[in-house]
Structure formats: structure tokens, C-alpha cells
């Protein structure tokens, strides 16, 4: 028992901790980023590490190392259905590894204690997903799953200052509080009534509640702001400013706080299986839903009372093929094919352009007497997939004239030039299907806004996207940080009121919201120094004191 509290216990614990840091913060990111290149690099390093322990100790060190990494991994994958199964599976993993270490590795009990203690500490004391972002961020908050249903993969996410106190609230949609939390019953129905009830339940597509969720950061935690506490005027602005999204369209349409199915399996299938009529039926379903949306909007295609930034444009509306609004207080209108008011941008010569989206993109300017001109345009021939592209307005070269970041394959950075021409400042590799601009904003305490984009590894062929920060330079986009999480719906704003901007995002098909806080601790250099230090210690110990 006494040996448990001797110095070697601390050494083993320190070794386990450095091993953890090295594996999680250096080796794993290198593999996520570098793929085979990391393998080529780390294989010799592992070979070196293998010969560093003295032959008499090699088996023990190796068993300790592998045992620790396996236990650390297995404790992340426990059966957490109930507390009992969680404790039970954790005990099985711990006892299994401990016995292996003791009887195969011939490790002393103090080493086994260190192994188990550090593995437990690294698993049960903090949110492990932090390890994927720790180089530059920590996870400040992570929501529960907000959507209880089987078919929506993601929902819109936005930020809005509900209380007008310069602290942004997180706005999204969900139904976790609206859907009763009933345990899933997988048992086979026995009575006729039970069978009939289950048949009725399974046969039809049903409406799903889908409510607005607004979260406010208070006293170190996020709380949901009841929708009835948000003023009508703010609710209208939130609706205007939230990213437009139609989950399930045209099979579901949003009505009030519900998504209502517009089809049922039998009739829809029989209709589509009159194959010649299938496009007519598809189109009629579109029109039925568009009609419903137009009725809800009073016939308005899109409108924007004000932009969430200084702008000369106000009271904009598209209705019956006409765009109307005010520019510097002067009214204007023009016929348009556009259906979406996107944003405004500063153009050369101090003009402010209005960006609208139809089948193509138009940037309009308002001249004397409210005369509207199309100053710039982008069409589907210039940019393949323009209909699904997202546009972000950003002054990336700080010349008081905005550029357009076109999130697409490939992505573009476009600078407006005189005469309605575009200068292409940068494009992503045409074969890179992963890169996509997400935002342009200040992150953390930085005063310089940066490009935030989803980008895959530099050398791996694996297409998984990781959120990264970039600064534009004439040589290209210089990466400033990276998070090893495939994040979508990326928003940036001060959600905790500390005057620094956090990143708010979600992960596809999880319906969880994350808030990431930027830090300035050089985590990677520290982790590299610890890893190299461990190797150097091994070399010195191996060759100096033979």
C-alpha cells in the first residue's frame, strides 16, 4: 500500500498526462489534418519511442502506454443509457485494463493506479469535445439536442439582440420542450386495440411542433427566453433576419409553430406512379406551398425594414414582381425577377449597392430621382451552382469598398471594379468540394475581422470540413486557426456580454448549439514542447545512464 504514495506514482501519472496531451493535441490533429503524411512522419517517431525505454522496462512502458490509451478511449464510449450501465461499463473497462497491466505487463500497482486515475480525470472532469478545438477555443456552452424528430437534419441559427443591451441572443428552432418526452416502446403490440393504434401511428405523416428557441447567457449559463416575452416588433425583425430555410419543402410547410405534412405516403406514391403526371404533381405541390407562404406573408415575396448595419436602404419589399423601398429617404421601385433581398455593399465611388437574388444575382444602385440601375450582376454561367451559393459581404482588404465572398464550388472572392466588372481576387481549388465561406467577423478580442470558412485538411483527400479562420493576403488565404469539428450555421457575436465575439454554430444532424470562446494560450506549442520534452527525456535517460 505504501508504494502507492511513492515518487514513481507521480512519475507514472505525469507520463500518462503528457502521453494524453501529446496524443490528443499533437498526434490526433496531425492525423486529422495530415492523413498519410502524418503516418509517414509519426511511424519513425513511434519507432524511436519504442527503443527509448531500457530493454528491461520496455514491456512495462509499452503496456502502460497502450493500456492508458485504450482505457482513455474506452471511457469515452461508455453505455450511458442509465447511471448504472455507465458505472458498470466503466468498471469493466478499468478492471480489464488493470488486470492486463498487472499480470501481462507486470506493472506495479502504483503505476496501475496512475494509469486509471489519469484516464478517469481526463474523461470525467471536462467536455472531451474541447480537445478538438482547444488549440484556439474552448466550448463555453453546448445545448442539449433541441429537435425531437427523425427527418430534419439541421435548422436555421441566428443571433439577435432581443433585449437591445448589446448582448446577442442565440435564435434557432426546436421542439424538445414541445414534444412529450415519452420512453420509446419497442414491444410488439398484443391486443387488437394496441395493433390498431400502432397502425394509425405508423401509417400517416404527422404535423411536428417547431417553435422558436431564443437563448440568453445569464450567470454563466444559457437560459431559454420564453417567446411570449419577446416583443412583436422584435419577433418580426428576427423573422426577417434569420436565414431563410424551408426544411422538408415541398412535403412539409411551416404554419404557426408547426410543420404540416402536405402529402401522405399512399396518395403521393400513387400520384407519382402515374409517372407521366409526376412533374405536374410535383409542380402543383410547389405552387400549393408557395401559395401558403404568400398567404402568410400577405403576398410579399421578401421584405427588409432595416439592415442590421448602417445602411441608406430601408423599407424594402418585393411583391408582385416589383421591388420597392427607400434610399436615403427617397422612394424607388422597379420591376424585378428577384425573390430575395440579400444585403447591401459599399461599391467603388462611395455608392451603396443593394444585393438581390433571383435566378441571378443583381447589385442595384439608386440614382437621381430614385432611378434604379443594375451596377453589377452575376449569372449561372459565370458561377456554376449560383442558386445554391451563399454570398457574404466583406471588406477583406480594408479599402472601404466591399468584396463579395461567394460560398460555392469553387468559392470566389470578387472585388467590384469600374464599369460593372468583377476582379477575381481569389478562388478555391476547382476540385476542392469542401471549402465554403461561412462568415466574416471579428472573433474574440481581435479588432480585425477575419474570414471564417469550412475547409478540409491541406493534404488529406478525406472531404470532412473543419471550421477555420483566414486572413486575406495577396498570396492567398492565410490560416489563423482551425477547429476539428465539422460545424455548420456559423454565426459570430457577443453572446455573453463581455465585449468579445464568440462563435456560435451547430454540427450537422445533431441539433446541438455550441458556443466557442477564443483564447490566446499557445496550446499547440505547449503540447509540442511537452511531446518533444518527453522524447528528449527518453533519449537522455536511455543513452546517458545506461
Amino acid at each position: 500500500m505504501r508504494q502507492l504514495f511513492r515518487l514513481p506514482t507521480i512519475y507514472w501519472a505525469l507520463y500518462a498526462f503528457v502521453l494524453f496531451v501529446s496524443y490528443q493535441l499533437v498526434v490526433k490533429p496531425a492525423f486529422l489534418d495530415g492523413s498519410l503524411l502524418a503516418l509517414v512522419f509519426f511511424l519513425p517517431v513511434m519507432g524511436l519511442a519504442l527503443i527509448l525505454p531500457k530493454p528491461a522496462e520496455r514491456k512495462q512502458v509499452l503496456v502502460f502506454t497502450i493500456g492508458f490509451l485504450i482505457l482513455d478511449r474506452s471511457l469515452t464510449r461508455l453505455d450511458n443509457d442509465t447511471t448504472l450501465t455507465l458505472i458498470g461499463t466503466a468498471l469493466v473497462a478499468i478492471i480489464g485494463i488493470a488486470l492486463l497491466a498487472r499480470f501481462y505487463g507486470k506493472l506495479q500497482w502504483n503505476a496501475i493506479l496512475a494509469l486509471v486515475a489519469v484516464a478517469c480525470l481526463t474523461n470525467f472532469t471536462f467536455n472531451r469535445e474541447n480537445l478538438l478545438v482547444l488549440n484556439h477555443f474552448t466550448i463555453q456552452w453546448q445545448s442539449d439536442r433541441l429537435y425531437q424528430g427523425e427527418w430534419i437534419d439541421y435548422l436555421p441559427l441566428g443571433l439577435y439582440d432581443v433585449n437591445h443591451d448589446n448582448q446577442m441572443e442565440i435564435i434557432t428552432y426546436g421542439n424538445v420542450e414541445e414534444v412529450p418526452d415519452e420512453p420509446k416502446d419497442d414491444s410488439i403490440p398484443q391486443t387488437d386495440d394496441d395493433r390498431k393504434e400502432l397502425a394509425d401511428e405508423l401509417l400517416t405523416l404527422k404535423p411536428e411542433p417547431l417553435a422558436l428557441y431564443a437563448f440568453r447567457y445569464e450567470n454563466g449559463r444559457m437560459i431559454r427566453v420564453p417567446t411570449n416575452m419577446i416583443k412583436e416588433e422584435d419577433l418580426a425583425r428576427i423573422k426577417e433576419q434569420m436565414p431563410v430555410d424551408y426544411p422538408g419543402f415541398p412535403y412539409y410547410v411551416s404554419k404557426g409553430d408547426e410543420l404540416i405534412p402536405q402529402v401522405q405516403r399512399q396518395s403521393y406514391t400513387e400520384g407519382i406512379m402515374q409517372i407521366g403526371t409526376s412533374p405536374i404533381r410535383a409542380f402543383l405541390l410547389d405552387i400549393q406551398n408557395i401559395d401558403e407562404i404568400l398567404k402568410q406573408n400577405g403576398g410579399v415575396m421578401d421584405q427588409r425594414h432595416v439592415f442590421p448595419k448602417d445602411s441608406k436602404y430601408a423599407s424594402l419589399k418585393i411583391q408582385n414582381g416589383v421591388l420597392s423601398g427607400h434610399y436615403e429617404g427617397q422612394s424607388f421601385s422597379m420591376p424585378t425577377q428577384a425573390t430575395k433581398i440579400l444585403d447591401t455593399m459599399q461599391l467603388p465611388g462611395g455608392r451603396e449597392g443593394l444585393i438581390v437574388m433571383g435566378e441571378h444575382i443583381s447589385i442595384l444602385t439608386i440614382g437621381q430621382g430614385g432611378r434604379v440601375e443594375e451596377a453589377y450582376s452575376l449569372d449561372r454561367k459565370q458561377i456554376n451552382g449560383l442558386a445554391t451559393a451563399e454570398l457574404i459581404v466583406a471588406d477583406i482588404d480594408h479599402d472601404q469598398t466591399d468584396e463579395l465572398l461567394v460560398a460555392n464550388v469553387p468559392s470566389y472572392i470578387l472585388k467590384p471594379q469600374a464599369g460593372g466588372k468583377w476582379e477575381i481576387l481569389w478562388t478555391s481549388d476547382p476540385h476542392d468540394k469542401s471549402f465554403r465561406f461561412s462568415n466574416f467577423a471579428r472573433v474574440g478580442a481581435s479588432q480585425d475581422p477575419e474570414i471564417i470558412a469550412k475547409a478540409r485538411s491541406w493534404v488529406s483527400t478525406y472531404d470532412r470540413r473543419y471550421l477555420s479562420g483566414f486572413q486575406y493576403t495577396p498570396d492567398g488565404l492565410e490560416q489563423t486557426w482551425k477547429m476539428y469539428l465539422p460545424l455548420i450555421n456559423v454565426q459570430v457575436g457577443d453572446v455573453d456580454g463581455d465585449k468579445e465575439n464568440e462563435i456560435v454554430a451547430s454540427v450537422y444532424n445533431t441539433h446541438r448549439i455550441y458556443v466557442f470562446k477564443r483564447h490566446n494560450i499557445p496550446v499547440l506549442p505547449i503540447a509540442v514542447v511537452l511531446s518533444v520534452g518527453l522524447l528528449v527525456y527518453g533519449v537522455v535517460r536511455r543513452f546517458r545512464y545506461v
Partner: protein, 275 residues
Amino acid sequence: MSNLKKPLVLGLVISLATLLGGCTYESGPKLFASDTKEAQEVTSPEENLQPAAPGEAKEALIKAIKDHKTNPKHQKFWYDGYVKNTILSRTTTSMFNGVVVNPDGYLVNGRIATQDYQYYRNKDKRYVRKGDYWITAKEEPLELDVTRGFEDWLPFLDQASVLPEEKVIGTICTPYQIKISGTDWLANSTSPLFEPLRQELAGRSDLQSILKETTVKMTFWIGTDGLIHQYQTWIIVPIPGAGYMDQEVNFRMFKFTDESIALPDVAEVEKYLLD
């Protein structure tokens, strides 16, 4: 020891450079898609379009419909299809595949907005499968006529174009194509399905505007056997607040001479009937 120093130092330097060094994403070719060499060399689909000979497309479709409906050798076939709707960055798809055995019925492996199901129709029996159970379908059935609706395109085929021949699942086909506006489609189609919308349109300038801006491009592929092998319709329709939706309705029909095609036995399905 000295032999080990050099590779060790080199390894450390490489590791530090790799892990600490900044990465720069250099620009790709600074060209719009329309300005690339590929775009200028490749003939666009529109350039491949040739006006079909007068009556050619109409005659081919009429003949194909008749064959589909009456030729006893072509009453069993496989099919697959989908309706793909893309609005901004979101795509919602419904999918279908299975077999048709005329005049008895069909089996459909379907998916609506990521929710899988099966639909089985055999004479007067109609069942939906969800999960492990079959359930009796209770809605009033539509007529079983898989080729219904092709004839509604006939009024438009005088303006059809013909595209170069191509293979659809092993069969050489001639594609015929038309491009019309939503307004034209509604005004000239013979489909009774459009009737309620025609009546709704009076006094609805917002919907009229939607139809006016809608583009419909339909292509059907007639095989050397005279049958329809593929049927694709692109519908580009304005969506409030979301640009234009690209909707693709695409069906392929194949293996018309596969004698092994059969519907599952009704008794086998009813064994797992829940209600």
C-alpha cells in the same frame, strides 16, 4: 548516440515546422466558369439542340404510349426515380424504385424527406410498410395507370428539339426536349390536374407572377425499341425569400423484357400485417 542526433534533430525541426507553421491557401485559377478553357471547348447542351423534324417527337411519344399501354411484352419493368428539390443550400429529395407488373400493380421502395417506407399495390390490395410492419392503406386509391400524363405533353411537342443519341441503362435512346414557361404549361396542357389552379389564378397577381417566372424543361428518351426509357423535367420556380428552387423530376424505366419480374405474394405481405 551521435549517429542518432542528426535524424532526431531533423525530425524535430520537421515536426515543429509542420505543426507550428502557418498554411496559406493559394488561389485557384482566377476565372469565372464561363471563361475557363473547358467551358469554351465543351459544347453546351443548348448548342447540341436541333429542332426535331415536324411531327417527329409527337409521333414517337404517341407510339411509345401506345406500346407501353398495349404491348403484352412490355407490361413488366423496373423503374427508379426521384424528385430533387434544391432551395439555397438545402436539398430535399423523395426517391422511388421497384417493379411494375401491369395490370396488377407495383412495389415501391420510397422515401419522402428522408423517411423510408414501402408501398405495395396488387389488384385491390394496398399496403404501406413502415419499419417492421405492413399496414393497410386507407385512402381512396388513384387509378393504376403508370403511363398516364405523357399524353399531356403532346400539345407542346411541335416546338420540340432533338438531342444527340445517348444510352440509358444499355439502351440507345433519342432524347426530345421542350422548354416552356409555367404560364405556357398551365395554359396549354391538357392535364385535368391543372384545372383547380387555373381557377385559383383569377385575381391572384402574385401567383401569376410566380408562373410567369417559372421555367420548365422536359426531356424524354425514346429507345430503339420505341419505349420511353427516361423522363426528366427541370422546374425552376421562384420561392419567396429564397431565390429560385431547382426541382428535378427524373424517372428511368428499364428491363422491359425481364421475365423474372414479379410482385411479392400477397400472402407473404399479409403475414406481417399489423391491422
